[in-house]
Amino acid sequence: MSTHATSLPVDVSSAYRPTVGRPGIQSLRVARKDLLADGVVRLRLEEPNQARVPDWTPGAHIELVLPTSDEGTVSRHYSLCGDRWDAHAYEVAVLNEPNSRGGSRYIHEELAVGDMITVGTPRNNFPLSQAKRFEFIAGGIGITPIMTMIAAAEQLGIDWHLHYGGRTRASMAFLDELAQYGDRVTIWPQDELGHLNLGFLNEMPEDGRVYCCGPEPLLNAVAGAAAAWPTWAVRFERFVAASLDEPVRTEPFELELAVSKKTVTVGTNETVLSALSCAGVPVLASCMEGVCGTCEVGVLKGTPEHRDSLLNDAERAKNDRMFVCVSRAVSDRLVLDL
């Protein structure tokens, strides 16, 4: 079960300085901002030089670093909802939360087409498994990762059904796009029909999987209704207020190399990998995107700022290794096993 925030994360503040071209963090241009439903906007974030953005898979999310005030930024995670065949841009859909402490309000009220925005590397805690049948259950803005899963299921020719609940029809995003799927989609506005009917979960198809994203009460209801299903067949993406993310650090930091007894300073616009190389301690690397795992280095002390797509949340929290092509430091100093 994943625990990252899809749409309602807490504030993580830090000093803001624009970062351009730093691996693991990209500077993308807001190319479109469309109102999809009441309180929901979709952003299209394009690579300004028409280069590729790092690959992602259905269910993945990206971090947006938002300059919500003159002194600080907040870091927010949003599920990707665009088209993977569009290799030069990401799309996210964002709900304006009345209780927001800055992130969604900033996106809705201040962010404008043409603005540059700092974006992290995609990660996926909610990947789509192989299966013979998918039951997709979405509540409200929880539809975003499900949209990419539906696209994948369609391409794979796998049987699926979407059960989509929302407060009102007008508040539900993507209804136009979903219309093409006809009776594969059940739209369930609460003001018309009450709570989502989960009776279909009584039947358990062979090699079926449930993918559910939405607010906590929906997830609990689904967990209860699917009690007869094996736990691995029912997968949730939670909106979690507790974000583990550390601030995006832009100041230089120090590396202490335990084996070679050297100290190396990593500047704002260089990677740990390049700083190590300049200091005469080159580390073998390959993909330069935090995907392949070649440049793994042991961390003996200090807290890395993980920007790879390899470690899961538990592995990140151990802080005992990092991928130096993209990852940096939260702490002033890292002691590396080099």
Partner: protein
């Protein structure tokens, strides 16, 4: 061998080569062809097979990343695949879930746990050849037959949890799979008769009740139990390991020994600084490229380096040529441990980048860790013999003279 500059079938000028990259002459010494390919242009038309080919680093790296337009789903050879499709012959989204499973199983973390096992395998390979002899003794061995072809064939099935029986089939099994990436030439025909029996043997090895309770194979089945892949798919995914993981590592390690034996200054540098072992292996992969080339198919009209490749055309991605592209590498023909080989394309790049790369690196590192203290000098004792394969740079014999430390 002639280069013409106009091909009426294509808009604008596109260089044409009439070489047969799968001919015995080119397989024996592929470097001149690879240089012609690279220098002819960013995209070249191979008239013999009606395919395009890419041999420059920048365009090749870009093509490898571009899974959207350059597909693997209809096979990664010259022709459509002849067997059930594994991980390498899939495109997203079909590729996503099994790739994720295998990437986790073969992660650097998982491989680190196998270091001791691998070191003891390296001991078992080297000790009978080298142990207990006086310093200065000269030993003649075959770098391919005695080391390169032994270590992966012992280690990999062990790590995968495949039973011992029939291990000798592993190399011939994969040899034919890689030959099938080329045309139906003599190499392909030679393996054709044996192929169904070998495939049946490999498939049987990957069934759940044939696997040991621990290993990559068991991990694949555990992923099926967790619901990440279907049980139907587990044997096919396990088989991908066997077909892709053994021959490539056999030739990679043999190539490493060849590189060190023919570059005494680099051997000396490695002896002086064993910390260069990881660089040495990756530099040897850049220098030799055990997997020489694979193919993609254009999903639509694709523009690469100013040339439009028409939808439906197959494209040769020549890793070996790009790994010696002087536009990317200084003095590319030199095997040089002072260079940073990061960014070589011997493992590919992008979503299909070799999922077993950490297993290959582990074996090479363990071998060197054991070999370096035992050996003072390494040199060729006789000319090497190549083993021709339509996709691999194969070795038949690498006679070595080792002077013991």
């Amino acid at each position: 061998m002639s280069i013409t500059t106009k091909c009426p079938a294509h808009q604008g000028a596109i260089p044409v080569l009439d070489d047969d990259p799968f001919s015995p002459e080119i397989l024996e010494d592929p470097l001149p062809f690879q240089q012609r390919l690279r220098e002819a242009g960013p995209v070249v038309f191979l008239s013999k097979y009606n395919v395009h080919a890419i041999g420059r680093h920048e365009e090749l790296a870009g093509s490898l990343e571009n899974w959207q337009e350059l597909n693997s789903g209809s096979g990664v050879g010259l022709n459509e695949p002849w067997r059930a499709r594994g991980l390498l012959q899939m495109d997203p989204p079909e590729h996503d879930a099994p790739r994720e499973v295998l990437q986790e199983i073969m992660s650097s973390r998982a491989l680190r746990a196998l270091r001791d096992t691998c070191l003891s395998h390296a001991d078992r390979v080297l000790n009978p050849l080298l142990a207990g002899k006086d310093p200065g003794t000269q030993v003649e061995i075959d770098g391919f037959g005695d080391i390169g072809s032994v270590l992966p064939v012992n280690f990999f099935p062990d790590a995968a949890g495949i039973s011992d029986e029939g291990r000798e089939n592993l190399v011939p099994y994969a040899d034919h799979i890689f030959n099938a990436a080329g045309p139906h030439n003599e190499l392909y025909k030679q393996g054709e008769c044996q192929a169904p029996a070998l495939a049946e043997w490999a498939t049987a090895k990957c069934q759940r009740d044939s696997l040991k309770p621990e290993g990559f194979g068991a991990d694949v089945w555990a992923a099926a139990d967790r619901g990440d892949i279907t049980h139907d798919f587990a044997p096919l995914l396990t088989r991908s390991l066997l077909s892709a993981g053994v021959d490539t590592t056999v030739y990679g390690i043999t190539g490493l020994l060849y590189a060190l034996a023919t570059n005494p200054d680099q051997w000396a540098a490695l002896k002086a600084n064993p910390g260069l072992a990881r660089v040495a292996f990756d530099e040897s992969l850049r220098w030799i490229s055990p997997v020489q080339h694979l193919f993609r198919k254009a999903a639509n009209d694709v523009e690469i380096g100013g040339t439009v490749i028409a939808a439906g055309t197959r494209v040769m991605l020549n890793f070996a040529a790009a790994n010696r592209d002087p536009r990317r590498w200084e003095d590319p023909d030199k095997f040089d441990l002072s260079r940073d080989p990061s960014g070589h394309l011997a493992f590919g790049m992008g979503v299909h980048q070799c999922v077993g790369q950490h297993a290959a690196r582990l074996q090479a590192a363990c071998l060197l860790e054991k070999l370096l203290p035992l050996v003072e000098r390494i040199e060729l004792a006789a000319p090497v013999r190549y083993h021709h394969n339509n996709a691999l740079r194969g070795w038949g014999a690498v006679p070595l003279r080792l002077t013991l430390a």
